[in-house]
């Protein structure tokens, strides 16, 4: 097992180098410079002060020198200082934004699991039934509806009309004065809409995957054997079929990491959530190279990590792989 994990880890190293190279090159092929947005159109910013800013940020170095620096620091998760006027280390900025993004993603993944598996299994078992058709349309609707539109509609309904839930942000003004339970409740109320939304959007992938896995398994010989032995249908489905159908779902969890991260740009912007997606969007709009490279790399790390965990989990659950 350990050897399997070690080998799996070794395989990620070339990927990491490739990721750093791609993200770095991509940013530097882009036209324009990072000093732009703030000072360029300012009549009080002379050519001289701009040159000063440029030297200050190290942009006057040749590209390969900049990449060398970048790679060396990447190993220690030091992505350099942000180009934005606060000039704070990128790693620090990402660190304070990542927990909320991960929280929402993990919660919505849990929600997806809770809903998608029963839905997928049921529609597979009753393939072609009314339930199958309705659930198919329902889960695809979640995928098909533009997130920001649905978000606003939900805000209007639950926030303005009914007044049940806060509209945006992640905590109330009096958050600091609340007790531990109060804090949890307050944070929870703020996260209901974003998590529901992210979950609704991701339902389709998981439930359809579950459904087709289940269909696949049901056709297998051993299920037929189990049925032939006269076992009750419930036992056949839940004891035998579902266990085997669930296994590959572990891998798709790893694969859904990049999609969820990408989606966070939209719902963090609309819900005013200070997470990594919003930070990335701001970085892109102000050409904050170190920040963009940092988040792209961290995003790729997280995806790799997700895949790794999924593979290891799969290996743990399925002994055939361990030998491989």
């Amino acid at each position: 097992m350990l050897r399997y994990i070690a080998r799996r880890l070794l395989l990620t190293i070339p990927l990491l180098v490739g990721i750093s190279l791609v993200s770095f090159l991509m940013m530097h092929m882009a036209p324009g410079g990072p000093i732009g947005a703030g000072t360029d159109m300012n009549p009080k910013a002379t050519a001289e002060s701009r040159a000063r800013l440029k030297a200050y940020y190290g942009l006057d170095q040749p590209l390969h020198v900049q990449y060398g620096r970048w790679l060396g620091r990447m190993a220690t998760l030091d992505f350099g200082d942000s180009f934005s006027p606060d000039g704070r280390p990128v790693a620090e900025k990402i660190k304070e934004r990542i927990p909320i993004t991960l929280t929402i993603n993990v919660l919505s993944m849990g929600l997806i699991f809770l809903v998608a598996i029963p839905v997928g299994v049921t529609s597979a078992v009753r393939r072609g039934s009314l339930f199958d058709r309705i659930s198919t349309v329902a889960v695809f609707t979640g995928f098909a509806i533009p997130t920001f539109w649905l978000a606003l509609l939900m805000m209007i309904l639950f926030g303005v009309r009914l007044g049940w839930l806060p509209i945006s942000g992640i905590s109330s003004l009096d958050y600091e004065s609340l007790g531990t339970l109060g804090k949890i409740a307050d944070r929870g109320r703020h996260l209901v809409l974003p998590v529901l939304l992210a979950g609704f959007g991701g339902l389709a992938g998981m439930s359809r995957y579950m459904r087709s896995n289940m269909l696949e398994v049901i056709r297998q010989d051993y299920i037929a054997t189990a049925r032939a032995k006269g076992l009750p249908e419930g036992t056949v489905i839940f004891r035998h079929a579902m266990r085997n159908a669930l296994l590959p779902v572990i891998t798709i969890l790893g694969l859904s990491v990049p999609d969820l991260l990408g989606g966070s740009v939209i719902f963090e912007t609309i819900f005013a959530i200070p997470g990594m997606g919003q930070l990335f969007y701001q970085g892109v709009m102000s050409r904050d190279y170190p920040l963009i490279m940092g988040i792209l790399t961290i995003g790729a790390f997280l995806t790799l990590l997700g895949n790794l965990l999924a593979d290891v989990g799969y290996a743990l659950a399925d002994p055939r792989i361990r030998q491989g």
Partner: protein
């Protein structure tokens, strides 16, 4: 299994029997018609500004109301269909072509070519696609061509993997080995044997890809870097509608529904194709 390759008519029959897929297909056809013959559906010009009639609710002369510059929403949604579908199709065309190329190359030649290409695919798959698209679009400029190209260039990896797997498995089969032994060239093998076998899964991937590209464009529009006004796209009409969502519901409802219904349609059709093409499900 090679003997059970379904014939075209078989496939079509199974597809049509799937009512959801048929409905999806009908929706898609409808919007195709809409974008092919916009003049039939709307007598207004999509970019004709009329500042006297700003944000008018639906009426006889403007069945879906007017937008924040007095333009006819029906006309904009109809012409927007053209733009949004174009984004979907060109992006998917690029992704499919690239995916096919890489997949065939990798699967057919194997060895280090395969190793290098597949590591590259692995690497590309690690980046959250929307992050990639966002940075590239913002660095170039949000023109419709850039959007299509970037969505295409970040969406080919799935197809490549699919084609490679299929190529590998087909390459090993007896009839292909026989054809090779008889001196059939690579091109002949690819066109005669590999492509027909990969057609269905590619079609499924492409159908879902079109849906995804339409959604991506609308997300980019929300961030202000999608197809730029005055060119109408469903995404930017919806974005213009969002700021007036409570007052001028018609400005967000109709483009929103258009996106919803179209993306839903493509997904249902894609699923239908997948099911219909799966010979093992034939009996059910």
């Amino acid at each position: 299994m090679n003997g059970s390759r379904s014939t075209g008519s078989d496939f079509a029959r199974r597809l049509l029997r799937n009512r959801l897929a048929a409905a999806g297909g009908a929706v898609i056809l409808f919007f195709f018609l809409l974008s092919a013959l916009p003049g039939v559906f709307s007598s207004h010009e999509p970019n004709r500004i009329d500042i006297v009639n700003i944000l008018h609710p639906p009426s006889a002369s403007h069945p879906l109301g007017t937008d924040d510059l007095g333009r006819d929403v029906l006309a904009r949604v109809v012409y927007g269909a053209r733009v949004s579908l174009k984004v979907g199709f060109v992006a998917v065309g690029i992704a499919t072509a690239l995916g096919l190329f890489v997949g065939l190359l990798s699967g057919f030649y194997g060895g280090w070519v395969d190793a290098v290409l597949m590591r590259f695919v692995d690497m590309m798959l690690c980046f959250p696609t929307f992050f990639l698209i966002l940075s590239v679009i913002a660095f170039l400029e949000p023109s419709i061509w850039n959007i299509m190209v970037v969505i295409g260039l970040t969406g080919w990896m799935g197809v490549a993997r699919l084609v490679r797997a299929e190529t590998l498995s087909i390459k090993e089969r007896d009839f292909v080995a026989a054809a090779r032994a008889q001196g059939a060239g690579a091109a002949r093998i690819i066109f005669r044997h590999v492509l027909p076998n990969t057609l269905a899964p590619i079609l499924v991937a492409a159908t879902l890809g079109v849906a995804g590209a339409i959604l991506t464009e609308s997300a980019l529009s929300f961030l202000g870097i999608g197809v730029q006004p005055p060119t109408p796209s469903w995404g930017n009409i919806l974005t213009a509608g969002k700021d007036n969502i409570e007052y001028a519901w018609w400005l967000s409802l109709f483009p929103g529904l258009a996106i919803l219904v179209t993306v839903l349609g493509y997904n249902l059709l894609g699923e239908g194709i997948r099911d219909a093409a799966d010979p093992r499900l034939k009996g059910r």
